[in-house]
Amino acid sequence: MEILARLVFGFYAALIVSGALMAVVERGLVRSLVGLIATMFGVAGLYMLMAAPFVAFMQILIYVGGVSILIFFSIMLTKARPTGDEAKGRPLRKRFNALVTALAAGVVLASVILKFPIPSLETPRQVSGQQLGEGLLGPYLLPFELISVVLFVAMAAAVALAWQQWGKSK
């Protein structure tokens, strides 16, 4: 089973990395989005591997089924052409800078984690939905409620903006 788990981990990791690369490298906005979605799927798979099906399904429900579709919607609204500005090639200097920046973050984080491994369980522990709910409404009540406040502010702001636009167009 351990070999299988490693194989599956390798598969998801490859999916995440290749999806992320596709999101950055591809010319068309929609193709980039497809890369991003692949990455989100990979992350959901990793949650699954950590015996957290609830979080994994939430990841798919919210990110793949919700956020990415909203991004799609906004791409359609921007009338992005596959031959638009972002489709032009970038100078070599910029590519080099981007590579160095990405690698720097990756190398620093990876070396820290390799040097000081996070203490964790040998095999992941299954947490039932009920325990999760009790946790969110017990010890983690404040962050949970704060998130809902943040979401409310975002929603109210979106409505206010749309309202202004609507007033202008009338």
Partner: protein
């Protein structure tokens, strides 16, 4: 717990996946036949009649025709998106069937948050429609895709809220547990206890599966065929299979959550589950041939002005009643 590739659990998963794939394919054949027959009788004509007795082999002929057709890609279409879309539309169908309890023992996989799995994977279908619409390089396809997005984003909210009201009552996301909590008689079913949730769920389910009267993303009379205008052969076939499979899933979920699942007044078993699911499927087909297609603004108005407030009130009343009594 040592587990290898020859583990019985592994074997069970593989066997279940194969059985489900066969189930999806067979059901698509049956549903195509039913759809055409019902359409025929609603319009006072016999429907398919030539291939086999009473046209029984018509779906097979249709399937063979679809498989035999050449696959075309329009010039200027994005090859990756264009060919990925039908596959992305069909692949999530198999995990969707995993947690559906046809019988106390006839479950492919006991998933604790089974309902959540179904909700998560049904959302991927819209993504496939978007990819098809965008990748086809065709204005009808793109219009269909943008409609699909607006529609599914809107209708997903009341759908989730209606289901939330039921899960509130049972304190579980496991479909088998919710079925067991309901009784054998119709007045013990959740459809009787939660009629508003049932109606909201069923309406939203019809809209989420893009069935008439909510089939705006493909509206033949306006958009040629909407998002799948440019697909021929099995490209279209996969979208079609996925649509029918999604119909079965939403009806199976409705059966499990609202109609007591496999339990019936006598001889409880998987036949009750299938009978109830098929009854709901017939209702959906009946809708299609009875109601005219709604206009797009009507579609969104129904959702935002009626279904959403209704489901919210229903949820709050459920929570209140649960706490007080």
């Amino acid at each position: 717990m040592e587990a290898t590739l020859l583990d019985p659990r592994m074997f069970r998963i593989v066997a279940a996946a194969m059985a489900l794939a066969a189930f999806v394919g067979l059901n698509a054949l049956v549903l195509v036949y039913l759809e055409r027959k019902i359409a025929g009788h609603v319009q006072r004509r016999p429907g398919p009649f030539e291939v086999g007795p009473h046209g029984l082999l018509q779906p097979l002929a249709d399937a063979l025709k679809l498989i035999g057709k050449q696959l075309f890609r329009p010039a200027g279409a994005d090859a990756l998106l264009f060919w990925m879309a039908p596959v992305v539309s069909f692949i999530p169908v198999l995990p969707l069937f995993l947690p559906i309890p046809f019988d106390p023992d006839l479950v492919a996989m006991h998933v604790e948050p089974g309902l959540l799995l179904i909700l998560a994977f049904t959302g991927i279908n819209v993504l496939a429609l978007c990819m098809a619409g965008w990748g086809s390089n065709n204005k009808w396809s793109l219009l269909g895709a943008s409609r699909a997005v607006a529609q599914s984003v809107a209708y997903e909210i009341p759908l989730l809220m209606a289901l939330l009201a039921v899960t509130f009552m049972h304190g579980s996301l496991n479909l088998s547990e919710i079925v067991e909590a309901q009784g054998a008689w119709p007045w013990q079913w959740n459809a009787f206890i939660q009629p508003v949730a049932f109606i909201v769920y069923f309406t939203c389910a019809v809209a989420e599966t893009n069935r008439a009267p909510f089939d705006l993303p493909e509206a033949e009379s306006e958009l040629t065929a909407g998002f799948h205008t440019e697909y021929s052969g099995m490209g279209f076939g996969l979208f079609f299979l996925a649509e029918y499979a999604n119909m079965i899933v939403v009806c199976a979920v409705a059966t499990a959550l609202f109609l007591g699942g496999w339990q019936g007044p006598f001889f409880s078993g998987w036949w009750w589950f299938l009978a109830k699911t098929y009854a709901l499927l017939m209702v959906i087909i009946w809708f299609r041939w009875t109601y005219p297609r709604v206009r797009f603004d009507q579609l969104l108005n129904i959702n935002w002005k009626w279904l959403l407030p209704l489901s919210m009130v229903n949820l709050m009343v459920t929570a209140l009643v649960m706490k007080l009594f």
